[in-house]
Symmetry: C2
Subunit: 251 residues, 2 copies
Amino acid sequence: MTPLILVTNDDGVHSPGIIALFKAMKEIGDAYIVAPDRERSAVGHALTLHRPLKVEELRENVFSVNGTPTDCVALAIHKILPKRPDLVASGINRGANLGDDITYSGTVSAAIEGTILSVPSFAISLVGDKPFHYETAASFAVEIGRYILDKSLPYDTLLNVNVPNAQKRDMINGIKITRQGKRVYDSAIQEIYSPWGDKHYWIGGGKPYWEHGEDMDIQAVLDNYVSVTPIHLDLTNYEALEYLKKIWKQS
Amino acid sequence: MTPLILVTNDDGVHSPGIIALFKAMKEIGDAYIVAPDRERSAVGHALTLHRPLKVEELRENVFSVNGTPTDCVALAIHKILPKRPDLVASGINRGANLGDDITYSGTVSAAIEGTILSVPSFAISLVGDKPFHYETAASFAVEIGRYILDKSLPYDTLLNVNVPNAQKRDMINGIKITRQGKRVYDSAIQEIYSPWGDKHYWIGGGKPYWEHGEDMDIQAVLDNYVSVTPIHLDLTNYEALEYLKKIWKQS
């Protein structure tokens, strides 16, 4: 039976990244887009609870929602798709989702929501600047999507994929399985003034500094590999749990 | 030297929960509030990048920001506080933050941002319904804040604290160190119609169903204990990493 694939993102339903991913997923299944009506970057795993959401069918198999990527996945799975999807594919994001930054990422959060709802999921992002070569990333999306449909994924685990922004696939060294890297510091907050002279702050524009290390996602893309990181939703620090149990006086 | 403590939340600067936490943190340090100007629940780890943010000093040591909890922590640490804080305390949230739900939580995300910026952090939430007994949770906040200031926390790790909504502290059995629980399913999405007859969807109102198990956060609060879960920011599934490394053909 042809697998059903949900495609979403956080750059919005009209972005070139989602169009490339949609085309790629059509090679391996019945693909549907359910995506935000406009850009919702850095929204994290936000869910819209304070207002109703509107779904619009733009064309065959393509729906837009005036909400977040997480809203899109929840609505798609529970209300929009003809049956439960076999795969959630989120992206192709315009820009990296590496290290701690994944906690801010709408792209990765869509894959987290898929995983919470027990659908195998991956997020895919392009690392680099304009011009973006979505076709290169799309060809890896086909490979990874096919792998997941074939072998599934470990319990409670999604794949976070980052692809170097190379013009052609054969300019990339291959795929590396990695661990989540660590961003050390990025303090960039601009101070700006309104037309009325009030000070405001604008977050962004900093250069992240990364811890480097073997197996890290950031290192893999620097070495011109596709980074594939298995991410799980159990955030418990089990070492700390054992440690704290021993020393906390159970009051 | 008196420690400096940043107090924030996602229910907004005027909520009774943050006032109770502020008062509690003043018992153990120089406390400052930097919090959203209004409720920002279920915003996840959202960072506002598309517009400037305005900070208002409401009264001594109390600031409001027209942004998310994550914005508040970043601005406080980099721009507002007189020096780097020794502790970030986020809450007291009106309602539980247990299991997978922490990925949606603005309250927990504030503590995640503190941890990313290398400040020991905890999030504290009241489990139950109105009327909320913030003083009970506040007394545990003092105990936990003091513990963290004294002993610090493991690398990259915060504490997610959930307190049963008991009228008095002695009605609670004590503190349990727990692991993150697992919410199984909550499909509640209402279908409603606009005044013009358009169908809309409204997410929410469902009854979560929980996996139960030893050491789980949800079980501890059901047993009338304060649940303290050590959460870390490295989401890598290391078992899956080893497994995938073995089987993935490095193309």
